[in-house]
Structure formats: C-alpha cells, structure tokens
C-alpha cells in the first residue's frame, strides 16, 4: 500500500493535463496520490468541517475525565433540575447530576461503539468480499449465500431480542452490530473485486507466480480501499444511530453506564419541564452522525478515481 501512495501519477490522471500544458516537461512536479486526494478533499468544506468536529468529539471522549470537573454520577444537591447555567452548561437532572458530564461520558460509549462497528464491519466485509470475488465459483456461491442470509434477517427486531437476552455492554453491543451489519459491505466489495480481478496487472502477477494471498493483499485490496473507507464512515454513523435507538428503548447499554440513547430514556419522564435533558443528548447524536456522513461524502468525492479536477 505504501508503494501505491508514493506512486507518482505523472503519466496518468489529473497531473498529466497539467504536464501537457507545461513548457518544460521535466520541471513539472508530479504529485503523489495522497496529495491529489488531499487536494480534492480540502475543497469539500462540509466534509472538512465534519472531520474537524469529529476529531474534537473523539478527543473529548478520550480526555473526558480531565475536561469535566464532575463525575458522571456525582450529585450537586444545590442544583437539582437546574436549567443550563454557566456552571452547568447543559443543565442538571433530577438527581443534580451535571448533564454535560453525562453527555461526555455517554459519548465515550456511543463513539466507541460507532468506531468499533465501522472498523470491524469493514474488515470482515472486505475479507469476505475479496475472497468471494477473487476465487469465484463455489467459494463465491457459498460466501454470498451466507451474506444474503445475513442481509435478509430483520435487523432492529433481532437487535432488541439480543439486547433483552444479553444485557449489552459496549463491547457485546459492538459485536452483535458487527454480526448483523457486515453483509452489505461484503456484497459491495465483491462487486468491486469482480471488476478488477481480470485486469492485466492481476494476470501479470499471477503469471510471474505471485501467491493468491499476496495478489489479494497487494493488487486487489488497494483498488477497493477507496470504497471501503467511505463505507466504514457510513457504518460509524449507522452504528451510532442503532446503538442509541436500542439503548433508548431499554434494550441497549444499561444504566448506570450513560449512553446518548439511555440518557434520552431518563429524559422522557420529565420532558415537559426539563427540555435540556431531551435536547442535548439527541443533538449530540445528530451532530456526530451528520459529521460522519459529511466526511464520508467528501471522501467519496476525493477517492473516486473517475472524478476530474
């Protein structure tokens, strides 16, 4: 993959157009693949903003205990059911707990589940898709039938059943979501692999005796990695939405561990009087999912080899 990134594209892609226009051919500075992608990505302002906000969100999740002066179960009896103030920017709940602190701790759970599902779904989906697409025939039929089976299972109902049985922790929740969600990525990857597996460079590699594993890793994977990165981001958003929905209904992460979903369950009882308990955790879900989706959209444009500068 490192070779792929360093590979100069002086002979192909956007740089060629510039090169043709230059008077002295030798002086044109070729741009690496990475530079081209970064250049395209930078122009997508919403994606850039989304990326920055996401980095801040993840940093705040990592450093939560150092950011907030309160503990997530710490009660302040002088400020029970307090509306947002300077001391408690998101207000407090009926037990006098600081809502901002709880939202930050909840974010640790939601963001971790999102990232975990995104990474593992993509890894499994890519593995299955590449194997099925590369080997074809029986391997393909077998793996894709299984994938289709996973895809047909009713996701939300089964997630709730699993939740009511296992009492999810963030880790088991991630595992169950991965189990249900990797299928679509495998299907998509397989399609991409079918398109490249008969290309000359793959045949050439085969002809000089490169092993199947190495071909898949060095020649097939780099060609589908763009699609996979985009899918990974979309699944982070999807996982965060599903986790919060399941937790909200009481089948996900269980209190006292706060997650954005179960904070909203608590908030429902007093929604009419304490609006801040309903507004802030939900707004965090929307902001996170929105940023991830913008980032995915920007990456899709930047990584698409067919897009023109």
């Amino acid at each position: 993959m490192a070779e792929q990134d360093r590979m100069s594209v002086g002979s192909a892609g956007g740089a060629a157009v510039e090169a043709a226009g230059a008077e002295e051919y030798g002086k044109v500075k070729g741009r690496t693949q990475r530079e081209i992608i970064w250049h395209r990505f930078r122009r997508h302002r919403l994606a850039l903003a989304g990326g920055v906000v996401l980095i801040l969100l993840y940093l705040s999740a990592i450093f939560t205990p150092w950011i907030t002066p309160y503990g997530f179960n710490e009660q302040n009896f002088t400020a029970i059911n307090s509306a947002p103030t300077l001391e408690h920017p998101m207000g407090t709940d009926r037990l006098g707990r600081d809502e901002l602190t709880r939202v930050l701790y909840g974010g640790r759970v939601s963001l971790m589940v999102g990232l975990g599902v995104g990474v593992f779904c993509t890894a499994i989906g890519a593995g299955v898709g590449i194997l099925a697409g590369y080997y074809g025939k029986r391997v393909d039929t077998g793996l894709m039938s299984f994938t289709d089976f996973i895809l047909v299972l009713p996701l939300i109902p089964l997630l709730l059943v699993a939740g009511s049985i296992f009492q999810f922790t963030p880790i088991t929740m991630t595992m169950v979501l991965v189990l249900f969600l990797w299928g679509a990525i495998a299907r998509l990857t397989r399609g991409q692999v079918l398109a490249v597996r008969n290309q000359e460079y793959v045949q050439a590699a085969k002809a000089i005796g490169v092993s199947d594993f190495k071909i898949m890793l060095r020649h097939i994977l780099p060609n589908v990695v763009g699609v996979l990165v985009v899918q990974a981001t979309l699944y982070v958003a999807l996982a965060i939405l599903l986790e919060s929905a399941a937790s909200f209904l009481g089948f996900g992460i269980q209190p006292p561990t706060p997650s954005w979903g179960n904070l909203l369950t608590d908030a429902r009882a007093t929604m009419t009087t304490q609006w801040w308990l309903t507004v802030f955790p939900g707004a965090m879900i929307v902001i996170t999912a929105l940023c991830v989706n913008f980032l995915g959209d920007g990456l899709r444009d930047a990584l698409d080899p067919k897009s023109v500068e």
Binding site: L153, P154, P157, A245, F248, L249, I285, A289, L290
Partner: protein, 320 residues
C-alpha cells in the same frame, strides 16, 4: 428466467427456515416463561413442572420448534402468557393501526420525495437542490426516536400551551368517540417522524436515478426530434427513472415493521411494533417469536418480489 425464479424461491424458503431457527432459539434460550413462577415461594417444583407440561415446555427444544413452526403456518400462533389469550386474539386488533400508520407515512413520503427528487435533478445545483441535499443529510443523520421526542415537545407541549388548546396529540391513536379530525391529530406527529428519513433518502435516490436517465442517449434523441421539455421529462425520462425507486420502496416494505417498533413505542401507537417491544420487555415469548417470524416472512417475501420484479421490468438484465 423460470429457472432463476425457482432458484430464488428455493433460496427464500431455506433462508426463512434458517431465520425461524435463529428466532426460535434466541427467544427460547433467552426467556424462561416460568421465571415468575419459579420465584413464587408458594409453588412446589412439582406444581411448576405440571404447569410446564400444560404449556408443552417440558419437551425438548427441537420438538417445541416443530410444534411452533407447524402451528405458525396453520394459523395457530400460540398462547400469550401475559394476556392469557391466544396470540392471534392479541395481534388482530393491532394490525389495522400499523397498516394505517405505515400506509399514511409511505404515501406522505412518496408524495414529497419523488417530485422533489425529480425537480432537484432537472434544476441541478440550484438553490433548492442544494438546500435539499443539506436537509437530506440532516434527515438521515436523525435518530427517529429523538425526532419524535422533539416533535412531541415542540408541536405537542409548547404548541398546546401557546395555542391554549390541543392541536396534536403525542400518544395513542384516538380519543374515545373522536372523529376523523381527532384521528388526524393523533396521526400527524408519528407520520412526520416516520417519513423524514424516507423523504431524505428517496428524494436523493430519485434525483440520482433521474440524473442517470437525463444524460442518456435516447433522451438526447427525444430532444433532438423537437419534443417539448415537459414531454421529454414526463414521458421519456420519468418512466425509466421511477424503476429503481419503486424497487427500493418495495424492498423497504418488509423492513417497515422493524422501523415501526421505535416510532410506535415513542408515540404509544397501539400497533404491532409497540406490541413487539412490549412483549420483549415482559418476556411474552409466544407473541415475540410470532411477530419476529412475521417480520422475517415479510422481509424475505418482499426481497423475492423485488428480485423477480427487477428482472421483469428491466429488459437489460438476463439470468442464465
């Protein structure tokens, strides 16, 4: 084509069988229907065993599976422990509310999403298109349960306080003796909640389908021979651009019941989704596994229909 249809059918049956095994195993390993009896100090173990044998719970798991699945396809859906009545009696009054809610939101979604998607494609990168793009991002980043809560807060609580009278209800399906207006007051908020995500994704999907068609050769031909713009758009472009969207909607029909769980629970809408969530809370295993199986049947069925319909509608697709 016939071979393809049959192969797909066999696959669907196998999938359904496997899904039923997964559902049955999960539900029956997860819930012990006799939990409350076992902790009751006034019952002896013999009495509990007697109760277990009345419900057939003393038989081995695989035997119970075949009794259940056999009953399911003959219309005997089992017995609801919590309601002390047959499952079919519990579910029957819940079917209509779900159909009403799903149907209304599907109609609402399609009426808004498809025309807007077409308009965005024709006026690509116009202000309306850009605003639409932005809001569709917001739409599918929105957790539907939170949207429901916010609607309840703003259009339920605050609007009622401001107007001095109830405009929209935030729970239930109707008030005793209310008419059609009363029903609409109940229906509005859950329908909006259910529709927003659909509108966001279908309108974008319709837009890209329309853009695909607009750049095709036969459309250039249609313009070249001097047809009016309206005729080109409505007669030549739209017919082809609708195919993928209609397929997508057909596929989503099966998933609707799953999505209904969340919205129906938020709005206490007395439908099947609400019943399923409730049954899972209370461990009413026969109700839960029946509803899960119905969902699975719907999903598999609509997938099958979409597969077949797709190959019929689009002449470019051939199956050996």
């Amino acid at each position: 084509m016939l071979a393809y249809t049959i192969r797909k059918f066999i696959f669907s049956v196998v999938v359904l069988f496997l899904a039923s095994v997964v559902i049955f195993t999960l539900v029956n390993l997860g819930y012990d229907p006799l939990t409350s009896l076992r902790t009751n100090p006034r019952l002896t173990p013999e009495q509990i065993n007697e109760i277990a044998s009345i419900y057939g719970l003393d038989r081995p798991l695989y035997e119970r599976y075949f009794i259940w699945i056999g009953g399911f396809f003959q219309g005997d859906l089992g017995f609801s422990v919590n309601n002390q009545s047959p499952v079919s009696n519990v579910l029957a009054p819940r079917v209509w509310p779900t159909i009403l809610l799903m149907g209304s939101s599907l109609v609402f979604t399609v009426i808004i999403a498809i025309p807007f998607g077409i308009y965005s494609a024709i006026r690509k990168y116009s202000a309306a298109d850009n605003v639409g793009t932005f809001f569709s991002f917001v739409g599918y980043s929105m957790p539907s349960f939170w949207l429901g809560l916010i609607l309840q807060l703003v259009l339920g609580v605050y609007l009622t306080a401001w107007a001095g009278t109830r405009v929209f209800y935030t729970s239930g399906m109707s008030t005793q003796g209310g008419g059609i207006v009363d029903m609409l007051q109940h229906l509005t908020l859950p329908v909006i909640t259910l529709s927003v995500i659909g509108i966001a994704s279908y309108s974008r999907f319709q837009r890209s389908a329309m853009l695909d068609v607009l750049s095709s050769d036969y459309l250039r031909t249609a313009r070249a021979k001097g047809l009016s713009q309206t005729r080109v758009y409505l007669k030549h472009a739209l017919r082809n651009a609708l195919i993928p969207v209609v397929t997508l909607i057909a596929l989503e029909m099966g998933v609707l019941l799953g999505g209904a769980i969340i919205t129906e629970t938020v709005f206490a809408w007395p439908g099947l989704g609400f019943t399923l969530a409730d049954a899972l809370y209370k461990g009413d295993y026969d109700v839960a596994q029946t509803l899960l199986m119905i969902t699975a049947v719907l999903v598999v069925f609509f997938n099958y229909v979409a597969d077949i319909a797709y190959s019929l509608i689009d002449p470019r697709i051939t199956y050996a």
